[in-house]
Structures are given as C-alpha cells and as structure tokens.
C-alpha cells in the first residue's frame, strides 16, 4: 500500500487540475459554473452528487455544477497547488487534518449567514462538537458533511482457526480490552497470517494511531495546539504498548510487511465503517464489526470528518454558498448519509442508518456508529499540519525498530515540532 500512496503523494500531489467546463463560463454574463473538488471517484457517489446538482440547477437555471475528482491520497496538496496556480475551485472538500489551515487562513467564505437564511435548513441540528473544527469566532466556515467513526472489522474465520476467542465473545463477557484484543491478534499472527492492521497507517500516516492511543488518553499536542504532549506518560505508554504488539507479540504486521485485511489475510483492522464496501463478495469470510477495545483510560471513540467549504477567492462565492446550503439541507443530507454519516441529530438514529448501511446489523449500528459519532473525538489536526505530519513521521521512524528508545525519541520529536506548534 505504501507504494501507491507514496507514488501519488510524491507526484500526483502536483496535480494542478483544470475543470472540464472551465472555459465555458465567459459566454453569458449570468451563466455561473460552480466547480467542486472532491476526493471520491466512486460512480455511485458521483451519481448522487449529480442528482443533487440537477435539483439545484432546476431552481437556478443559470448555474451549472461540476465535480472534479482529485486523488484521495494527495488531495490537499493537489487542491492547494490549484489555488497556487491561480485556479481555485469554487467549493472544495476538506480533510479534518487540514481544517485548521483552511479555516484560519481566511481562504474560506463564511457559511453561517447563508445556511441560517435557507428555509428549513435547521443549522441548530448540527452538534457543536461536530462543528467545532470548522468554525472560527462563532462562524461556520465549512460544513462537516461526513462524520465517520472508526471501528474494528474482524475476520472470525482466521480468529477461530487460531484458537483465540472472537471479539464478540469477549464483548459479551465484558473483556473487550486492548490487552485481550492484542492477545487475539497475536494468536493469529503466530499462525503466519496478519494480526491487527491499523488501516492506512503504514508507518507513515501516524495520526491514524489515534484510534489506539486515545484509549490511553494520549494526544500528540495540548487541546489549544500550542504544546507538544508526545513525551508525556500516556503517549509513552501507548506507543510502548503498540511497539510490543509489533515487535514482541507479532500482533501487528511490522514495517515493510504488506498484509491486506480485506483480502482475508489478517485477523482485524481498524478503519472507518464506510470501508465495509471493500469486504470481498467472492470468497467471503465471516466478518464482524465491533467498537474499539477499552484502553487503560476507559472507553473511547474516534471519528474522521470531512468538510465542504466555499473558496473566498471565487467570483461566485455567494452562489456557491447557496449550493452548499442546498446540498446539505435535511433532505439531501439524508441522501448523502448513505455514504457519508451525517452529524445532523435527526439522522442519527438506527432506523435511518440501517437503511443507508445495509451491510451492518442493528446492533453494530447502535454500538459502533451512533455511540461513535456521539462520543468520538476527531482525528488530530493542526495549522500547518503537512509539515508537522512530516516531522513527526520521520521522527517516529526511530521507534519502528526492535531496539527503540521510545521516551527518548518522543522527547526529540517534541523538540522538533515544538516551534511548529507555536506558530
């Protein structure tokens, strides 16, 4: 997986794209073409988006909306490079990690007024915690249209074959802790298959490890983002635990080992529930979806978010904001939630979610999705995240070896990113 990701982050990152219909705007004075950059190229997603666009165009005959898919891995880089090239889109999806950069820089057009003015919009329905990262000075700068909890997918066939207890049994016995989860993963790991995979982590995207270390109450920096907390005890303990799981217990595939859960080669994987669509249709295995295990600091949940913002530089920012209001109104939010879990309270019930996630059972939805969205913390983010991410990534490389000095390395990382955090 590394290679693909790397390849694209390397070069595709430069993707300075151009919309198909870019040149047709100049013909009529009133004709407005709105362009939205997105990171999905999924046909079903695009079909729904185009339906929504068609609905908007009916009421606004002078407006056309086009979607431009940029590669997922390097989305932010590609988007920013478009902006640098003088070719900013009108609207853009924004990752939770990059939210601070966009919200704080003034690149986004404030949405609150437009949303409030839209009839039947019900902005109050959006919980404050979901909107937190996307707001500044009481104004919403991007609408968090996707709030997707992290959970653990389980391959029960592999676990049973190894003689370990399936997580469902552990949960029933109230023994679903990280120690037991890793013991199960280790049992499968000893059979030559992979144990637990934190999906997309790959010893690069370290922020995904928050799905583990949040169980220790660890976080990379303080709540205000100014101070590095990586060298503090919770983080040291959590990383020591992860390190043991990798190098002593063989419960997590080590660096440079490629194992794919969805190909049936690993016992468990932590990822967002939307990845259920990757479960194999041919040669299926017995799978389950369970909440993240309990850590020393108790139960916890982690969510990933995606925001939809309007670029300030666009000529048609006002119209674009109206389109965002239309796309995320209660009716369209319900449609979107079949792919992107909504943070609207009225949509957070088992009935709605069951319809939109046919692969999941009622119980899975209750335990994983609803409580996850309600209690989850968002993946860590920061202003200047790309640079901090890179600094931590290269610092953590010293930990991903059998004889690592974990507290020492973490202190060093704090020394590296300290000045970056304060900026």
């Amino acid at each position: 997986m590394n290679y693909h990701r790397a390849l694209k982050s390397a070069v595709a990152a430069l993707a300075l794209a151009m919309p198909l219909g870019w040149s047709c705007t100049a013909t009529a004075q009133d004709a407005v073409n709105l362009r939205m950059t997105i990171w999905s190229a999924n046909e079903a997603h695009l079909k729904l988006f185009n339906e929504i666009a068609a609905g908007f165009e009916k009421d606004h005959p002078n407006v056309t909306v086009t979607y431009e898919s940029l590669p997922f891995d390097t989305y932010t880089t590609a988007l920013t490079t478009q902006i640098a090239g003088g070719n900013a889109p009108d609207m853009a999806w924004i990752f939770e990690t990059a939210a601070y950069d966009f919200v704080n820089s003034g690149a986004l057009f404030p949405l609150s007024d437009t949303l409030k003015a839209t009839k039947g919009y019900n902005l109050e329905e959006l919980s404050a915690s979901a909107a937190e990262r996307w707001s500044k000075d009481g104004k919403l700068y991007a609408y968090p249209f996707s709030t997707s909890p992290f959970a653990m997918f389980v391959n029960n066939d592999l676990i049973k074959a190894s003689g370990a207890k399936p997580p469902a049994e552990l949960i029933a016995a109230d023994q679903w802790s990280w120690d037991n989860a890793i013991a199960t993963a280790s049992a499968v790991g000893q059979t030559g298959k992979g144990g637990l995979i934190v999906r997309d982590f790959n010893y690069q995207i370290w922020q995904n490890l928050a799905s583990v270390w949040n169980g220790w109450g660890a976080s990379p920096w303080s709540a205000d983002g100014k101070a590095c907390t990586m060298a503090e005890k919770p983080m040291v303990d959590a990383l020591t635990f992860i390190h043991d799981a990798i190098f002593k217990k063989k419960a997590i595939p080590g660096p440079g080992e490629n194992v794919d859960f969805f190909a049936g080669n690993a016992a468990m994987t932590i990822t967002q529930i939307s990845r259920a669509s990757l479960l194999p249709k041919e040669n299926p295995f017995a799978w389950d979806l369970v909440p993240l295990p309990k850590g020393p600091a108790g139960n916890y949940a982690l969510i990933g978010q995606a925001g939809l913002g309007v670029m300030q530089t666009g000529k048609n920012a006002k119209t674009a904001a109206e389109f965002v209001a239309y796309m995320t109104n209660p009716e369209n939010s319900a449609k979107l939630s079949q792919f992107f879990p909504s943070a609207r309270k009225s949509l957070l019930n088992a009935e709605v979610l069951k319809k939109t996630n046919p692969l999941l059972s009622q119980e899975q939805i209750d335990k994983v999705v609803i409580s996850g969205i309600a209690t989850g913390k968002v993946i860590p983010g920061h202003t200047g995240f790309a640079q901090i991410q890179q600094a931590v990534r290269s610092g953590l490389d010293a930990i991903w070896r059998p004889d690592a000095d974990i507290p020492g390395t973490l202190l060093k990382i704090c020394g590296q990113i300290g000045p970056l955090l304060k900026r």
């Binding site: 693909h4 070069v11 595709a12 430069l14 993707a15 300075l16 151009m18 003088g86």
Partner: protein, 280 residues
C-alpha cells in the same frame, strides 16, 4: 582483447552474466506474471515465480476502469510528435553550433546548455502559470512544446553538435563552391550523413517522452487526456487503496510493446545509441 577465450573463461563469463542478469530481468518477469495472480498471491512469501492460479480478468478491468486505449494513443502520438519535432530543432541548432560561424555563437551555446542543468521540478510552477494564462492547461500542448523547444531538447542539440563537429570541412567547401546555400548544404549533405546521430536522438527523445511523469500529472486533469505513466497511478478504489493486480496488468501493457519493438529492432537501437557522438 579480441583474442579467443579459453573454454573455462567462457563458462565463467557466461555464469557471471547470468547472475548479473537477475536484477535486470526479474522485475519485469515478476510484473508480468503477478498481473494475472489473484491479489492474495501477489504478497505470497516466498514469491511465486510462476503463478499458481490465473486471473485474466485483470486485463479486461484495465480497459473498463479507464479509457486506456485513448491514453495509449495519447502517449504514442505525443511521443511521436515530440520525437520528430526534437529531431528537427536539435539537428538545425546542432548544425549551426558546429559548423556556422556567427556572432556570440559560444555564448549562446552556453546559455542553451543551461537547459541541461535545470531539473524540471525547479521550473514547473512558473511553467504551469504560463500555460494557464495561455489557456493550455489540460491540453497536450505543454507536453509537446516544452520537450521540443525547451530543456529536454538541449541534450539532443548537444549530441547533434558533437556529431556535426566531426564532419570533414572539405565536404561543405565543395558544396559552397558549387553555390549551395546553408540550408541546402544542411539538408542535402550534412543531414543524410547524420542518420546514426539522429537515430540516437530519436531513441532518447522517444523514451523520455514515453516515460514523462511529472509534467502530465501537473498539466493534465481529465482521464481521457492522461498519458500512460500517469494512468498507471489511477487504478485505485474510492479511498485511494490501490488495486495491485490491475495496476500491474496495466504496467505490463505499457511496457511490453516497447520491449517487443526494442527486441526486434535492437540492433538499430543499440547502434544508434552508440553514435551519440559522446566519444569525444
């Protein structure tokens, strides 16, 4: 060194070459065979030299997921146009630098050589802004114009100059006495002699254009305009997860035709290259 070799030495040399060949041949072999393996077998350890089970659907998916035929055509025609254009530009410039005396020739040559020294990453942002202003982003023009006239053609000009320098002056003198102009001398006398050098320029240029990676990714954004190296990176699921076997199938499809052409024409290929005029 051309003396007959003893049988023992021969056996040793063959053995040595066979061992040395492994890193040159194995990756291509692995790429081709893995493209028909089920995805779980790609990661089998130790690796399977010959697939244990075959899944040919990867090849049909290559064409389903992207306009692969169109992308193939894009790469092929761009490389062809760039090759012909570069041959024209570089042979003229190379000839002038080698054989015509004109003011500031050396200074200009040095300025042109600067092009050899500048990595494309350095100038990609200003170039993008220039082509954006010219309305040429998401067209093939940047991929054609920059290689023919810009930095990539400098190496070709250098090769051509090195070749033309070696031509005996008498050839031209005779032609001038006959009243031939510069362009005619170039076209009718110098150019026909330059076939080997032109062949090597053609090979270098074609390969360079065919492999170009950074520029297409920067300048092109719609799938039907993509070139092959760029298309290879696009075989992913909705979350950026790679579809390994399909990607390897596509990679095999991009590599094999060139490899086959090369194997058929390898004599001309290698001899053309050998005449890059780099001998001195």
């Amino acid at each position: 060194m051309k003396a007959e070799l003893s049988p023992r030495l021969k056996t040793f040399l063959y053995g040595l070459m066979c061992v040395l060949l492994i890193p040159f041949v194995f990756p291509t072999w692995w790429m081709a065979t893995s493209s028909v393996k089920p995805i779980s077998d790609i990661f089998a350890f130790p690796p399977q030299l010959i697939p244990e089970s075959y899944d040919w659907t990867t090849y049909s998916k290559v064409f389903e997921l992207q306009p692969f035929v169109q992308q193939y055509w894009n790469s092929a025609y761009i490389a062809a146009v760039v090759t012909i254009g570069t041959m024209a530009v570089s042979s003229m410039a190379g000839y002038a630098f080698a054989r015509i005396r004109f003011p500031f020739a050396n200074t200009i040559f040095m300025i042109v050589l600067l092009g050899l020294l500048i990595p494309s990453e350095v100038t990609i942002v200003p170039l993008f802004r220039m082509f954006l202003k010219a309305g040429m982003v998401n067209t093939h023009w940047p991929l054609i114009l920059v290689p023919i006239f810009g930095a990539p053609s400098v190496f070709a000009t250098f090769v051509m100059r090195q070749f033309f320098v070696t031509l005996p002056a008498e050839l031209e003198e005779a032609a001038r006495v006959d009243g031939l102009g510069r362009f005619k001398i170039f076209r009718m006398i110098a150019l026909p002699l330059a076939k080997p050098a032109l062949a090597s320029v053609a090979i270098f240029t074609f390969l360079h254009s065919w492999n170009l990676f950074l520029e297409p990714i920067v300048f092109l954004s719609s799938a039907e305009k993509f070139t092959l190296p760029q298309a290879l990176t696009q075989y992913t699921d909705a979350y950026g997860g790679p579809m390994w076997n399909i990607q390897l199938a596509a990679a095999t499809l991009t590599a094999l035709p060139v490899l086959i052409v090369f194997i058929i024409a390898q004599k001309q290929f290698v001899e053309g290259l050998a005449h890059t005029g780099l001998k001195g």
